[in-house]
Amino acid sequence: MSGYLLNRLGQALFVLWAAFTISFVLLQAMPGDAILIKFQNPELGLNPQQIANIRASYAADSAIWVQYVQTIGRFSTGNFGYSVQAGVPVSTMLAAHLPATLKLASLGFVLAAVLAVAIAFVSSLTPFAWLRGALQSVPSLFISIPTFWLGIMLIQIFSFRLKLVPVINPGPWQELILPVVTLAVPISAPLAQVLVRNIDDVLTRPFVAVARAKGATRHWVLWRHVAKNALLPTLTIAGVLFGELIAGAVVTETVFGLNGIGGLTERAVGSQDAAVLQAIVVLSALAFVVINLIVDLLFPVLDPRLRTKAGATA
C-alpha cells in the first residue's frame, strides 16, 4: 500500500514538473514579452536606458536556464512572482479570481455527475423501449454541442425570451445557474456514455443472475449490485474529464463575463503576461494531478480486490 502511494506521488510530482517545464519553454519561445508590450508603448515616453533598467529588475535578460532555475525555485516555495501588466503579485491575482472558478467548476462537475447518473439509471430502469432509446441518444447529442454556442443559446432562451434568469445584476447564485449548466452538459455526456455501457456490461455478469435468483427485484439488483460495479470504471473517466472541466471553465467564464481564472487567462494571453500564465498552467496541472491522485487512492477503498497485495490471493 505505501509502495502504491509513493509510486503515485512520484508520478504526480513528475507530471507537475513536466507541465512547468513545457509551459516555461513555450512561454520563453514566444516572440516579444510582457515588458516590451507594456513599456515600449511610445505614449509612456521611456528611453531605452529606462526600459533596460526595468528589464534588469525583472531579470528578463539573464540566461534562460538561470531564469528556469530561479522560477522553479520560487514556485516550489509558493512564490509565483509579479505580474508585469498589473504590477501586483501573481498570487494576489489568483486569490482574487480563484473562488469564482472553483465555485463554477465544482458545481459544474456535480451537475454533470447528477445528469450522467440520471440518464444512465433511468434508461436502464425504464420499461419503455422508446424512453430508453431517447435517453441513450442524449449523450451523443450533448457531446456535439460546443460550449460557447450552448452558453449563448441558454442566455437567449432563459434570460431574454423567458426572462427566467436575470442577466443584469443577478444575485451571487443566480449568475451561476446558466454557466454551470453550460459547463456541465458537455462533461456529462462522456460520463453518461461510459456509465450506460458499464451498467449494460455488469447486467450480463453471472452474479446479477444469482441476485435475481435470490428473488431480488430489478431495482434492488440495480442499486445494490450493479451501481457500485458500474461506477468504479467511471471514476477513472471522471478524473480525466477534470481536464475538460478546466478548459470548459475558461470558455464559459468568457461567454458569461465571469471574473474567474478563465477571464484572467484570457487577459494574460493578450498581454503575454508570462508570470501569470506560468502560474495558471502549474495551478491547473496541480488541480488535475491532485484530483487524479484522489481517484487513485479511492480505488482501493471502493474495490476490495485492490486492497490485498498482488500475489497474495491463491
Binding site: 444469482v210 441476485a211 435470490k214 428473488g215 431480488a216 460495479n229 476490495p304 490485498t308 490471493t313
Partner: protein, 549 residues
C-alpha cells in the same frame, strides 16, 4: 438414491415447453415441446451438449430467460401451479424461496465488491426471513453447514479472498438458505478441479437428503449425471431424445444420440486407446527420448518481497519417447502451466535441465531460441481466446510460415491448405473468421496452426477441456491419427484423468510443484503410488456406471 412418494404431486412438471430467441430479425426456436417431471427429493439431470437447450430450459423454470428469449408454449407447473407466464413481480416471491439456483462459474457468480456475509444474508433479507442478530447467526450457521472453515471470518471476507471451491460452497449456502423445494444446479462443478468437484457434488447430495429438496442438475458431463441423478433427460437440439431412470438409460439407451454420448464420454470408456504393453515399454529411458526434463526448479519472487521466493516447480523430472504421449496431470496451482512454460522456452528455469530433441534449452539465446520454437508448438485450452478474431482461418494458419523461413506465397498457400485438410476442415472454412466456426472447428484451426511448422513436439495445454464430449472425442481421434501419421510427440496437460487414461502412454502427476507419481499410465492408474493420485482417480465421475456395466 431417493424414494419418490407417489402420493404427493411432482415438485415440477414441465409440459410441452417451447422457447425461442429473437435475434433482431426473427424468432428461432431453441426448445421444442420439452416435457419432464421432478418428484419430491429426486435428482433429475438435463444432459446435453452446448446448444442442446438444457440451460435455456433451466433458465425458463426460474424465470430468468435472457431478455430476447420468450416462452412460446407449454407449461411449467410448480406444485401444480403454472408459473410459465407469471410476471417478474410474481416470480420474485418464488425465486430464492421455492426455487433456487447454483450457478456454473463460482468465480464470477459472486459480487466482487460485497462481502460474503452481505451476499448470503441478502437472500434472507429479501424474503424477510431474518434480521439483526438472528440474521448474522443464521448466516454463520449456513456457512458452517456447507463446510466452510472459520465461518465468522468468511462473513467479512470478499469473494476474491476465497478459492473456487469455497466460493461454490457460499453459492450453495445461498441456494439452500430458505430450504427451497427445487434447486437448479447449472453445471455446478464444471469450472472446478476434479477433487473439489466431487466434494461439492457430495455436499449438494447431502443437503438434498437433509432438506428433502429436489435437484435439477444441468450438465454436459454424462459421468456426473450417471453418478448423481435418479433420472436422466437427454436433450439434443432443443428436443428430448430420451428420458428415464438413470440406470436403464445408461444400460440400454434407446436413442442413437444417447448411445453416441455414452460412447464418447471418456469416463465411461473402459478401453484405453493405447495398448498397455507398448506403453509400459515406452516408460523406460531410451536413446529415442525427444523430451528430457531433469530436476526442473522454478522460483518466483513474491511481489510483497519478504525475500523468500515462491517455488512453483520443485525438482520435476521426466522423459518422453518420440511418437508417444506424455500427460502432465494436476489441479490448479500444481505447477503444470509453469513447467510447460519452461519447456517451450518462455521462461528460464531457476535450476534443472531441459532437452528437446537433443538441444539443451539453457544454451539458446535470441535468434537460436526463436528458431528452436518451431520444433515445439502449443495448442491452448481456449480456442476462442487464442485465435485473432480479425484474421481469417487461412491467415491464422499461414502466419507461422511468415515468421519462419521465406516461403513464396503460392508455397505458403499450398502448405496451409494441405494442413487444414489434414485436420479435417472444409475448404470453405479458409476464408472464414473464428467467430463463424464452432468450438471444435476452432480447436482444429489451432491444431493446424501448431502443425504447419512441422514440429517434433506439440504441447496440448488443456486442449480438449472446453469442448463437448462428442466434439472432444472427434478431436482426440484426430490427435491420435496425426500422431500415428506424422510421428508427433505430445505433451498433454490436463486435469481430466479420464481423458488422460484414454490417450496417454506415460504420465506425471504433480501436486504443489512436486512429482508425486509417474510412469506408464496403466501402472499409475492401477497401482497409484501416492494418496493424492488415488484421490484424483476416485474423483473421476461416472464410476457408478463403470461398476454397473
Amino acid at each position: 438414491m431417493s424414494t419418490s412418494a407417489a402420493a404427493s404431486p411432482p415438485v415440477l412438471e414441465v409440459e410441452n415447453l417451447s422457447i425461442s430467441y429473437h435475434d433482431g430479425i426473427a424468432h428461432h426456436r431453441a426448445v421444442h415441446d420439452v416435457s419432464f417431471r421432478i418428484e419430491p427429493g429426486e435428482v433429475v439431470a438435463l444432459v446435453g451438449e452446448s446448444g442442446s437447450g438444457k440451460t435455456t430450459t433451466a433458465q425458463s423454470i426460474i424465470g430468468l430467460l435472457q431478455a430476447n428469449g420468450r416462452i412460446d408454449g407449454g407449461s411449467i407447473k410448480l406444485n401444480g401451479t403454472d408459473i410459465a407466464r407469471w410476471s417478474d413481480r410474481q416470480l420474485d416471491v418464488v425465486r430464492g424461496a421455492k426455487i433456487s439456483l447454483v450457478p456454473q462459474d463460482p468465480a464470477s457468480s459472486l459480487n466482487p465488491v460485497k462481502t460474503i456475509g452481505a451476499q448470503v444474508s441478502e437472500i434472507l433479507r429479501i424474503h424477510g426471513a431474518a434480521s439483526g442478530h438472528a440474521l448474522e447467526a443464521q448466516v454463520i450457521s449456513l456457512l458452517e453447514r456447507v463446510g466452510l472453515s472459520e465461518p465468522a471470518l468468511r462473513v467479512r471476507q470478499y469473494p476474491h479472498e476465497l478459492s473456487g471451491g469455497m466460493r461454490q460452497r457460499v453459492l450453495i449456502a445461498i441456494a439452500v438458505a430458505l430450504k427451497p423445494q427445487l434447486i437448479i444446479a447449472d453445471e455446478p462443478t464444471s469450472a472446478l478441479d476434479v477433487t473439489v468437484q466431487r466434494r461439492i457434488l457430495d455436499l449438494i447430495d447431502e443437503l438434498r437428503t437433509e432438506f428433502g429438496t429436489s435437484v435439477l442438475l444441468v450438465t454436459h458431463d454424462l459421468g456426473v449425471a450417471a453418478d448423481r441423478a435418479d433420472r436422466l433427460v437427454v436433450l439434443q437440439g432443443g428436443r428430448v431424445q430420451e428420458l428415464g431412470a438413470t440406470k436403464i438409460v445408461l444400460a440400454a439407451p434407446r436413442s442413437a444420440y444417447t448411445r453416441q454420448l455414452i460412447a464418447d464420454a471418456p469416463s465411461f470408456s473402459a478401453v484405453a486407446r493405447k495398448t498397455p504393453a507398448t506403453a509400459r515399454e515406452k516408460a523406460a529411458p531410451s536413446d529415442n527420448d525427444v523430451v528430457i526434463v531433469d530436476g526442473l526448479v522454478q522460483d518466483f519472487v513474491r511481489p510483497d518481497g519478504d525475500g523468500k521466493p515462491f517455488r512453483a516447480v520443485d525438482g520435476l523430472s521426466f522423459r518422453v519417447r518420440r511418437g508417444t504421449t506424455h500427460a502432465i496431470v494436476g489441479e490448479s496451482g500444481s505447477g503444470k502451466t509453469t513447467s510447460i512454460r519452461a519447456i517451450v522456452g518462455f521462461q528460464k528455469p531457476t535450476a534443472g535441465r531441459i532437452e528437446i530433441d537433443g538441444t539443451d534449452l539453457s544454451q539458446l539465446r535470441g535468434e537460436t531460441l526463436r528458431q528452436f520454437r518451431r520444433k515445439i508448438q502449443l495448442v491452448y485450452q481456449n480456442p476462442y481466446g487464442s485465435l485473432d478474431p480479425r484474421q481469417t482461418v487461412f491467415d491464422i494458419v499461414a502466419e507461422p510460415l511468415l515468421n519462419f523461413g521465406r516461403l513464396a506465397r503460392p508455397a505458403r498457400e499450398a502448405k496451409a491448405r494441405a494442413i487444414l485438410s489434414r485436420v479435417g476442415l472444409p475448404e470453405a472454412a479458409l476464408s472464414r473468421r473464428p467467430h463463424a466456426l464452432s468450438g471444435g472447428q476452432r480447436q482444429r484451426v489451432a491444431i493446424a496452426r501448431a502443425l504447419v511448422l512441422d514440429p517434433d513436439v506439440v504441447v496440448l495445454d488443456e486442449a480438449v477441456s472446453a469442448l463437448d464430449v462428442t466434439v472432444q472425442a472427434r478431436i482426440l481421434d484426430l490427435l491420435d491419427e496425426l500422431q500415428h501419421d506424422l510421428g508427433l510427440t505430445y505433451l498433454f496437460v490436463s486435469h481430466d484423468l479420464a481423458v488422460v487414461r484414454q490417450i496417454s502412454d506415460t504420465v506425471s502427476v504433480l501436486k504443489d510443484g512436486r512429482l508425486v507419481d509417474g510412469g506408464a499410465v496403466e501402472d499409475v492408474f492401477e497401482r497409484p503410488g501416492s494418496d493424492y493420485t488415488r484421490e484424483l482417480i476416485n474423483a473421476i465421475p461416472g464410476q457408478n456406471r463403470a461398476a454397473l456395466v
